[in-house]
């Protein structure tokens, strides 16, 4: 059984239909990169999976739980951690408190255990020495790495990453992408919306290409970059535009 089943969902904002009778499954392993032009429904898809947007029709089943049942949202969000394009640390808390607040309050993890886990994750994202820093003492890349660690604190079954490097300069971007590659190597299941094509090539096991709320191609990474890009003009044009 797929871990995330997206079943014929439609999502519109007013008259603008962003996802149109959209279906796709995500397995319990691997990294899927979602590509496509802006405004094509990539971020909306992740937000619908996480229950941050309600779907108009259809359903999304996450590990057996329907997002249409609002009572399931807490569990779904614990199973699917999400990191956003904008870095959103809680400004009143230092780094360590940002990391432990949710496991302590939601999962009822003992504080000492949560701190231990937080320190391990901070070490993993290369920010062990920043546990008492406030968000305004961190660079954009560091904040984003903390946000990833914070999502990982809930031990999610999958991580939804929504253009997490698009607001960062190339250097900071590289820092963050390295962390993602490290997590992928550890076997963390990820759905990533990005425009970083070389990164997608390196990390993804599957590429989903969307346009106008529908899937144009859904293929293993190798196929996408070798076979498909030459056959599908739309994909070829998109990749060329990204490169330039």
């Amino acid at each position: 059984m797929a871990m995330i089943e997206v079943k014929n969902i439609t999502k519109a904002f007013g008259d603008l239909v962003v996802l149109n009778n959209f279906s796709v499954d995500f397995d319990q392993s691997g990294v899927t990169v979602i590509l496509g032009p802006s405004g094509t429904g990539k971020s909306t898809l992740l937000r619908c999976i996480n229950g941050l947007e309600t779907v108009d029709n259809g359903d999304i089943i996450v590990d057996g739980l329907s997002v249409q049942n609002r009572h399931n949202l807490r569990d779904i969000r614990i199973k699917c951690g999400m990191v956003f394009q904008q870095t959103i640390l809680f400004p009143h808390l230092d780094v360590l408190e940002n990391l432990i607040i949710s496991p302590v309050k939601i999962l009822k993890t003992p504080r000492s255990e949560a701190i231990e886990q937080a320190r391990e994750l901070l070490d993993k994202v290369g920010l062990f020495n920043k546990e008492h820093s406030k968000h305004n003492e961190l660079s954009g890349g560091e904040q984003q790495r903390i946000a990833i660690a914070r999502a990982m604190m809930m031990n999610p079954k999958a991580l939804l990453l929504d253009e997490i490097t698009s607001a960062l300069d190339p250097e900071m971007s590289t820092e963050v992408l390295k962390i993602i590659e490290k997590l992928a190597a550890d076997g963390v299941v990820m759905l990533i919306v990005t425009h970083e094509i070389p990164f997608a090539k390196r990390i993804a096991s599957r590429i989903l290409f969307l346009e106008k709320g529908s899937i144009v191609s859904d293929s293993p990474t190798e196929d996408f970059f070798s076979r498909l890009k030459n056959k599908n003009q739309r994909i070829e044009r998109f990749l060329q535009n990204i490169h330039h």
Partner: protein, 220 residues
């Protein structure tokens, strides 16, 4: 002037102390109730339901846009006439000041909640917090930090406007000054003392507000 000060009797000093007690009592009780009322009204004001969010305005707007002295007279002199509710001066003062504080405090709460970026709410939800947990653990601590400096400023203001209760025969600091002035005929000295006493309470609070403002300040 110092000699004149020495001429004040122990009774006068005791009278002043009692009056300070009354001023502080009226102010503390009314800002406590006002804060509770303000929190409730401010939270209701943030409802996504437009009708629900408009309900507190029926209470807030008249109180914010009319003089406190009028509100006080309405409660003390008006209620016995229209509703046969007779309140003693202290009850009338506390009720009026509480409602007045609540109206202003609710605006502070509403503004503070609205100042929290939507993404902060979403980040909390995305981590698995429910509505209550998100508000309690993520949003409310930020709201409180935004609220503290404005709240202290409001409390200082309410301490000062509490002097209006002297007009409904309550012996607060201002009324005590008035009475002692009539007895001693030394208005500059007596009102000077009243002025200094208000200042001695208010100034440390305003310094505290400024310190807290710096301490709890954060950018999103």
């Amino acid at each position: 002037m110092f000699e004149q000060y020495l001429n004040l009797t122990y009774y006068d000093i005791f009278f002043f102390m009692k009056a300070i007690g009354m001023t502080l009592w009226i102010t503390l009780v009314s800002i406590t109730f006002g804060t509770i009322i303000g929190f409730m009204m401010g939270i209701i004001r943030c409802s996504h339901n437009k009708l629900v969010s408009a309900i507190p305005l029926i209470y807030i707007e008249p109180l914010r846009n009319s003089p406190l002295i009028t509100q006080l007279f309405l409660t003390y002199y008006g209620l016995p006439v229209v509703a046969n509710i007779v309140l003693d001066a202290q009850a009338a003062a506390i009720i009026t000041l509480s409602l007045n504080t609540g109206a202003f405090f609710s605006v502070l709460v509403h503004n503070a909640i609205k100042a929290i970026p939507h993404m902060q709410w979403e980040a909390g939800y995305a981590l698995g917090h429910g509505k209550f947990s998100n508000f309690k653990n993520i949003i409310a601590p930020q709201v409180l930090r935004l609220l503290i400096p404005g709240a202290i400023t409001l409390y200082i203001n309410q301490l000062q406007v509490s002097s209006f209760v002297s007009l409904i025969s309550l012996i607060d600091l201002t009324k005590a000054g008035h009475i002692l002035t009539l007895r001693t005929m030394r208005p500059f000295l007596i009102y000077g003392i009243v002025f200094l006493l208000y200042f001695a309470i208010s100034y440390p609070l305003s310094k505290l507000a400024r310190r807290l403002e710096k301490k709890v300040a954060f950018n999103f």
